[in-house]
């Protein structure tokens, strides 16, 4: 009996210390002459069956492994804080204010094509979700914000989003600069920068010369 226990202990130690699963033949070599290896391994397996570590058979080899049900608890969760790209922030804002919006509509509002990952990131973050399809040709998918979006920004509802007038009052909306003799999108530094970082194609461009004549800014904002 003591011999058997000693064999059991040896197998235990061998399997523990080995970098690879150990072959049965290898274990047999180390055991006492005439030891019933199969019986020993079965006993060891049952001893560890309900423990945090289990004895598992891998083909003709054996190894200790942490219990599979503990995997979620063994995992270390690490929160990585990242900044959203400007394109993503803008897209999120546009969806929030104008939902439901199709991708094309977002692009029309922004005046630039949406780069590949932008909607994906917002979807993965759990802030936007599909909202059914538009009943127009091609039946494009529309997007809206989620409850998690409201949570993130501490909003009780979409009504809590300040309106354009309130944004203006808060000084967030820059006063519109009158354009004299110049028509078309103003190439401000910000805009230029963004076009670069996003590598987006401008869908529509108006050349000032072509438009000709006198123009004023159309002030209507949704």
């Amino acid at each position: 009996m003591t011999d058997e226990n000693q064999s059991l202990r040896l197998i235990e130690a061998l399997l523990f210390a080995s970098a690879e699963p150990v072959e049965e033949g290898e274990l047999a070599l180390r055991c006492e002459e005439g030891a019933d290896l199969d019986a020993l391994l079965e006993r060891l397996r049952s001893i560890y069956a309900n423990r945090g570590v289990n004895l598992v058979r891998v083909g003709k080899r054996w190894a200790f492994r942490t219990a599979p049900d503990l995997a979620p608890l063994l995992r270390t969760e690490k929160v990585v804080t990242r900044k959203l790209s400007r394109a993503a922030v803008e897209t999120l804002a546009i969806i929030a204010y104008h939902q439901p919006m199709t991708r094309t509509e977002i692009e029309e509002v922004r005046g630039v094509a949406l780069s590949r990952g932008t909607l994906d990131i917002l979807f993965e973050a759990g802030w936007v979700e599909p909202r059914g399809r538009r009943r127009t040709p091609g039946r494009p998918l529309t997007w809206g914000t989620t409850p998690a979006f409201l949570d993130q920004f501490g909003l009780e509802g979409l009504d809590d989003l300040p309106g354009v007038d309130e944004l203006k009052a808060a000084g967030l909306l820059a006063p519109v600069r009158p354009l004299l003799g110049k028509i078309g999108p103003v190439e401000d530094a910000q805009g230029a920068e963004e076009a670069e970082e996003e590598d987006e194609t401008h869908l529509a461009e108006i050349s000032p010369d072509e438009a000709g004549g006198k123009a004023e800014l159309g002030g209507a904002v949704g």
Binding site: E20, T76, K78, V89, A93, A125, A215
Partner: protein, 261 residues
């Protein structure tokens, strides 16, 4: 030719009985080690060691080494000098009122140092005799890495969201163009107006009656007169109406062309 290093100068050819002695000297790790080895020869507990006897043995050892003109490290010589001094302190009566430690105290200090070295030596041996990791005791051979799950959290405040929207709106406003309605009335408009107005008329009509009455004077009105006149000419060219002016700068009339009979 390589010059003989000066150290060789003192090396004595080992001969006979002296050989072991030379090897012994090389085997010691400093004077304290040598003292400890000599003390062990006394075969007594280090606490009952005769320091005087030990000092004699050490001095005799060094004397023999010097007689053989062996290389002797300075450490050993310093110890020899100190032991000679200690011996004199132990043998001579203690001077009165000295602040220096007594000979006994110095001897005890040396004995303590020897005991301590021996203790550390034994401790080292006991430490090495313990089951050692990687030699006698083994760690997990196949450690299982603890998976690290990265949860991305986007850092964005309501302020950032709103300013992004505001910026975007500002840009959109800048991009959306609305051309102001022209002040000039077009010929096409006038043609439509004339055609509509003349429908069903059978007599001469005054051209000026077809100028939109809401137009104030000045450029808009003059532009409207011009375009309406041009429209009349165009319709006449097409053969739909006739034009008549009775005198220079007189009023212009127009009438539908009668159906050819």
């Amino acid at each position: 030719m390589v010059e003989t290093p000066p150290t060789d100068e003192f090396v004595v050819e080992p001969a006979g009985a002296e050989e072991a002695f030379i090897l012994d000297l090389e085997g010691f790790e400093g004077p304290l080690d040598l003292l400890l080895a000599l003390a062990r020869d006394q075969k007594v507990d280090l606490t009952r060691l005769s320091i005087l006897e030990l000092a004699d043995q050490y001095l005799a050892f060094i004397a023999r080494a010097r007689r053989l003109r062996l290389e002797i490290a300075a450490d050993y010589l310093v110890m020899a000098a100190w032991l000679a001094y200690l011996k004199s302190r132990l043998l001579l009566p203690e001077p009165e009122g000295e602040e220096e430690p007594s000979g006994e105290e110095l001897a005890e200090a040396l004995a303590h140092q020897l005991r301590r070295l021996e203790a550390m030596r034994e401790a080292g041996a006991r430490l090495m005799a313990r089951p050692q990791l990687g030699r006698d005791v083994f760690k997990r051979g196949a450690p299982e890495p603890i998976p690290v799950v990265k949860n991305t959290r986007f850092d964005i405040s309501l302020f950032e969201l709103l300013s992004a929207y505001a910026n975007q709106t500002t840009r959109r406003q800048a991009a959306a163009l609305r051309i102001e309605p022209l002040e000039y009335s077009s010929v096409e408009d006038a043609i439509q107006r004339l055609t509509a107005g003349m429908a069903g008329s059978i007599d001469w009509e005054l051209l000026l009656d077809f100028i939109p009455p809401e137009l104030s004077g000045g450029t808009p009105r003059r532009s409207a007169i011009a375009s309406t006149f041009a429209a009349g000419l165009e319709l006449a060219r097409q053969g739909n109406i006739e034009l008549r002016q009775l005198e220079t700068f007189g009023p212009i009339y127009l009438r539908n062309v009668k159906e050819p009979q």
